[in-house]
Symmetry: C2
Subunit: 202 residues, 2 copies
């Protein structure tokens, strides 16, 4: 006999489906929500429902945004000639938090991973190349994570940008090998942005 | 300038309010939900809204349940003369998972904590005493956690049950001091139920 009421079991299953949430944590969260006032659960539910309706991809940089272009691409104080390529929104947030970057972004929403069927077409590399071909971009700062797929993606980007009239830079050494950039501390990340390296191409 | 879209920021705040969910984890979860199909967010939202409406407290044992009495109190195979007192629903779930207990429960939904203003009236001790006074309960098995407030609550219960025509037992030694019972492994917990100790009262 299952002693967990079905409505509670369904919520536990939903929460357990989220990344990094085990069954015990999901149970603890669901019981907490049940003990708190119903209004709090309704607030969370409303914000969940609103999320996908309110947020879209910026047509220029593919960041999640309620506006198109996004607040960064639409800001005249940001330099459109400097484009920072990141894997995902959390990376963008980590870089913005340092305040060390005044250009625009390009979000790949992934990394090259041939084993998982993720090729250049899946991660918006074509859109980046089109953006560079328009001639308004002077420098592409590649800020993929220093993981194996992140490095492979960076190497692929460098090869594709070779020969185009654009400077290609990378975040400076200082980020430990194997560390995901969204977990780097602000000071390390700011220093890596300031001392970004030239790849020697073109 | 805040680069997190407001709809995303609201969801991050909601998730950050849950216990054990820091801001980075909340951000990671919210971005995951945003990347997944909108239908999954709607499912989670629906289950959150349904939760409080569907689940109530069993009038006999105060367990969360969609039925009243709950599935345990309504099961003729469970012995109403044996009542296990637990702090919270997660403890009940942990005991049920062992399959070693065939009686009914009484949920306190808390422990005595005078510093937080939690006295006997706040944790349904009166309802337990009323249940015992009806004369149908032969044994009360106290299964509060072996933490300081859990032990204090057990001691208070033993003193209040003293003199009533009921056997008072506790979970056997075997659970390490300071461990919350919902994190004990099944075998240890089952053994503790089987070899429960008599407190010598009455």
């Amino acid at each position: 006999m299952d002693v967990v009421p079905p409505a509670l079991a369904r919520l536990i299953e939903d929460l357990h489906r989220l990344p990094g949430i085990g069954r015990k944590t999901a149970t603890r969260l669901a019981l907490h929500i049940l003990r708190r006032p119903a209004a709090e659960a309704r607030d969370l539910a409303r914000d969940l429902v609103d999320l996908h309706g309110a947020i879209h991809l910026c047509r220029n940089c593919f960041a999640f945004s309620e506006k198109d272009p996004c607040v960064i691409c639409g800001d005249p104080g940001r330099d459109p000639a400097l484009v920072c390529v990141v894997e995902e929104p959390a990376d963008l947030m980590a870089i913005e938090k340092t305040g060390a970057f005044k250009g625009q972004y390009h979000l790949l929403h992934g990394v090259l991973s041939p084993m998982d069927g993720i090729g250049p077409e899946e991660i918006r590399i074509g859109a980046l190349l089109s953006r560079v071909k328009k001639g308004t971009v002077a420098e592409v700062l590649i800020a993929t994570s220093s993981t194996v797929p992140g490095e492979a993606t960076a190497a692929y980007l460098i090869s594709r940008l070779q020969g185009m009239q654009v400077k290609v830079t990378r975040l400076a050494c200082g980020i430990p090998m194997g560390m995901d950039i969204k977990y780097a501390d602000d000071v390390t990340l700011a220093r890596a942005i300031e001392s970004r390296m030239d790849t020697g191409k073109p």
